[in-house]
């Protein structure tokens, strides 16, 4: 490979640039003729002479460069068994691809499955890995960061890679691309799948294999440096090296990954993101308390107060017991859950609801109970006046409802609904000891 005039000349030297990677962004269009005209005035023996003029011109060459930047702040949670066809809101890896050349150019997009290797700066999971199937790349048409089938425009697949025509891009403006996969079933939480997106400069669906400056794309052959011709538009690969070791290259001629970090002036650029099987960190806990018995009466001094009555109701026949089941999705969980269902069976000695004969208004409930959830004590507020003959459900969103006992087995069978990270729901019901 011939020395790259723009970035280095052999070992030990670095060519300094006036500007950074985006030096040519919004730069003068390739093919523009830049002319400098100069005039000279002078006198001989105090007599002004005719003004002289000279000019010099050159044609601006094509600086070919593309950037790829992963836009995910961390690994992207995804659910085992999830498929994208016909579905909306599918988690995707987000990449911004920008043509920073001084000409409109087509791109080719390659996606490299790197099993579960760590991504620099991410909270990587694993080490177990999985491989997605039916990998696609789509333009995030509605800009919501997730894949919506039928809305977000899939790129045309060409062999193992994809084609992104120049008509879909505005020069120097990032285009958000989504990498979407079908996820195998039966995976474990924390399994990781790492993907690198590679964008290469192309004419139509043909990769630009080399420039006129002695550089070649992976799999291509460098051509001799073009001779001095300021009237000819020459190509110059001006892409920077990919940022991290996992940001590998792609041989679009052989249509296969090149598992080494993308270098400078190879006509392509890459970045990496990763999926991880969601790990909703749910916990469930249950407490029971004797609220009332026919001899000692109430544990609490009054309704809605945690002040004890100095009595100690016992679990004797005719006593009323309160069960509280708490369900928590830990704040560190990386995924919301939905359709939570709580079931609980009653042993034969427990009668559903208040069968004490005591008026419900004379049996006092505390203001709150404390359960240990996800390793920490959590104080749960109880409804002020629950129906002692119903199952009371307080959803993660704070809504309260009363449900009947199932009438079968299990006796308690209620829906708690959705629960986001950090939210807790609870189920409260009462039984009478036979």
């Amino acid at each position: 490979m011939n020395p790259n005039k723009y970035l280095a000349r052999g070992a030990g030297v670095v060519l300094l640039s006036l500007l950074g990677v985006n030096a040519w962004a919004l730069g003068t269009d390739a093919g523009t003729t830049v002319t400098n005209s100069v005039t000279l005035q002078y006198q001989v023996n105090a007599v002004p002479q005719t003004e002289l003029e000279a000019e010099v011109s050159f044609v601006v060459d094509r600086a070919l460069a593309v950037t790829v930047v992963n836009q995910d702040s961390d690994v992207v949670p995804i659910i085992s068994g999830q498929t994208y066809s016909g579905n909306a809101g599918i988690p995707a890896l987000n990449f911004d691809v920008t043509n920073i050349s001084n000409d409109d150019l087509d791109l080719l997009i390659g996606v490299v499955d790197q099993d579960g290797i760590p991504v620099t700066g991410f909270n990587n999971q694993g080490p177990d890995a999985f491989n997605g199937s039916n990998v696609i790349v789509a333009i995030d048409t509605d800009g919501n960061g997730v894949y919506d089938d039928g809305v977000d425009q899939q790129l045309t697949q060409v062999g193992n890679h994809f084609s992104l025509p120049a008509s879909e891009m505005t020069r120097d403006e990032p285009l958000r691309l989504l990498v979407v996969v079908d996820v195998p079933s039966g995976l474990s939480a924390g399994d990781q799948a790492t993907y690198t997106l590679v964008a290469a400069l192309a004419d139509g669906t043909a990769v630009i294999t080399n420039d006129d400056n002695g550089n070649a794309t992976p799999g291509g052959t460098a051509a001799p440096v073009a001779g001095f011709d300021p009237t000819l538009v020459q190509d110059v690969f001006a892409d920077a090296a990919s940022m991290n070791a996992e940001d590998v290259a792609y041989d679009f001629l052989g249509d296969a990954p090149v598992l080494s970090q993308g270098g400078v002036s190879i006509g392509q650029h890459s970045a990496t993101g990763a999926f991880v099987i969601a790990r909703p960190d749910l916990d469930i806990s249950k407490v029971v308390e004797v609220l009332w018995d026919p001899i000692n009466l109430n544990r609490y001094a009054s309704a809605g107060s945690n002040t004890l009555s100095d009595e100690e109701p016992k679990a004797i026949p005719g006593a009323l017991l309160m069960y509280v089941i708490g369900v928590s999705n830990d704040a560190s969980s990386n995924y919301s859950v939905s359709d939570l269902e709580v079931t609980d069976e009653l042993v034969a000695e427990l009668l559903e609801g208040n069968d004490t004969g005591e008026s419900p208004g004379d049996i006092y409930l505390p203001e709150s109970v404390t359960l240990t959830l996800n390793g920490s004590p959590v104080s749960l507020d109880l409804p002020a006046t629950p129906d002692l003959d119903q199952v009371t459900v307080v959803g993660c969103d704070g809504s309260t409802s009363s449900e009947s006992y199932s009438g079968g087995s299990p006796a308690v069978d209620v829906l708690l609904g959705a629960c986001a990270p950090g939210e807790t729901g609870l189920v409260v019901y009462f039984v009478t000891l036979e």
Partner: protein, 163 residues
């Protein structure tokens, strides 16, 4: 790429031999553009090289060199040589690069209608008048104090960045 422009005053009409002869001065003027590369070595030393401007892309630094030579028989008057160079479009002047031995260098911000020292140049920007920066310059002028004897040559130069 360079182009030469020259002018001779060869008088052939016999009648004109009776009047004062214009000087037989002839200046050859050339303009050249090269690319400037700054290369940092391992020891931190930065080397500047001038190479052919055959691969020029936005962001590149260019040097324009204007050379002139008195190819005539008469000396050019002192304080008479003035070179004016409107900066090429799509370029920006790089501060401090204008060179001309024995010349006073002034700049223009109005495409060469007027020239002044940098501290005397002002531009209107968003309705506010402010002192011009090198990015605002649109032309450079060199006014030479020395003359130019027959056979003598000189040059001026300046650097720009391709936008």
């Amino acid at each position: 790429m360079q182009r030469k422009s020259s002018l001779s005053f060869w008088l052939t009409a016999p009648l004109l031999w009776l009047v004062a002869l214009p000087a037989l001065a002839q200046i050859a003027l050339e303009s050249q553009v090269q690319k400037v590369e700054h290369i940092e070595h391992d020891d931190g030393q930065v080397e500047t090289r001038l190479v052919d401007a055959d691969s020029v892309v936005p962001g590149d630094e260019l040097r324009y060199t204007i050379s002139f030579r008195n190819e005539g028989d008469e000396p050019i008057d002192p304080n008479s040589i003035v070179i004016t160079d409107p900066l090429p479009r799509a370029t920006r002047y790089i501060d401090g690069t204008a060179f001309g031995a024995g010349a006073r260098v002034t700049y223009s911000v109005d495409r060469g209608q007027s020239f002044a020292d940098p501290e005397a140049l002002y531009v209107e920007s968003n309705g506010t008048r402010r002192q011009a920066t090198p990015e605002d310059y649109t032309a450079i002028r060199w006014e030479f104090e020395p003359g130019l004897e027959p056979g003598e040559a000189s040059h001026v130069s300046f650097n720009v960045q391709l936008r």
